[in-house]
Symmetry: C2
Subunit: 123 residues, 2 copies
């Protein structure tokens, strides 16, 4: 996955309205929803919903299909799975045993820290 794709998806989900839309569509699965249904379900002006749907579509987060005079939107779940893979790519590189540890615990544990390298600030 390209970095721009990832940031676009995150940008899409960074708004409460778009997050609501996405979660609504996830619940609907393959059935999806038409634009007006989404607007009335969330009690928002249709043109505002359309504005957000356009951005989400451009980011690939949702797909749209014309159905007569309706536009049916569906969540693109596989993209989300790709995104997760992108985020955890090379997770704990070189120390795979840490991955299991991190994933199992409730939060980054107050683990014993390795001492700082003698040469400070080398990348």
């Amino acid at each position: 996955m390209e970095k721009q794709t990832a940031t676009q998806v995150f940008e899409s989900l960074s708004s409460g309205i778009r997050l609501d839309i996405y979660r609504l569509l996830v619940k609907r699965g393959l059935e999806g929803m038409v634009a007006g249904q989404i607007a009335s379900a969330l009690d928002l002006p249709p043109n505002n919903v359309s504005f957000h749907l356009k951005g989400m579509t451009h980011a690939g987060l949702v797909s749209v299909e014309q159905e007569g005079r309706y536009q049916r939107y569906r969540a693109n779940l596989p993209l989300m799975l790709e995104l997760i893979a992108y985020l955890t790519e090379e997770c704990c590189a070189g120390h795979p045993e840490q991955c299991a540890e991190i994933r199992a615990d409730s939060c980054c544990p107050e683990a014993v820290l390795p001492p700082l390298p003698k040469t400070e600030m080398e990348s």
Copy 2:
């Protein structure tokens, strides 16, 4: 998970710089990185990195621990797992068989659509 938590995390990852920081920290795992290391690794002004790290910390996406005069940052992977669960909550509600279908295919398939309900636009 609360909606605000989710939007804050997504907002954090919607910037290319913050996404780079997060992925860098994910790779480092429990070791993490100190602020100056992050800045020089990404070739960015330290105060700009500090600005972004503050937001990420506030969103809970990274944790910070003081280490003498250094501030050591680590990615909060468990939060990401919670976030994914939040997103796919009630996925395909009422039609669990669709979930497997969606997850298996490469993208939302051009599935056969159910006909529109006779009463248009009811939520």
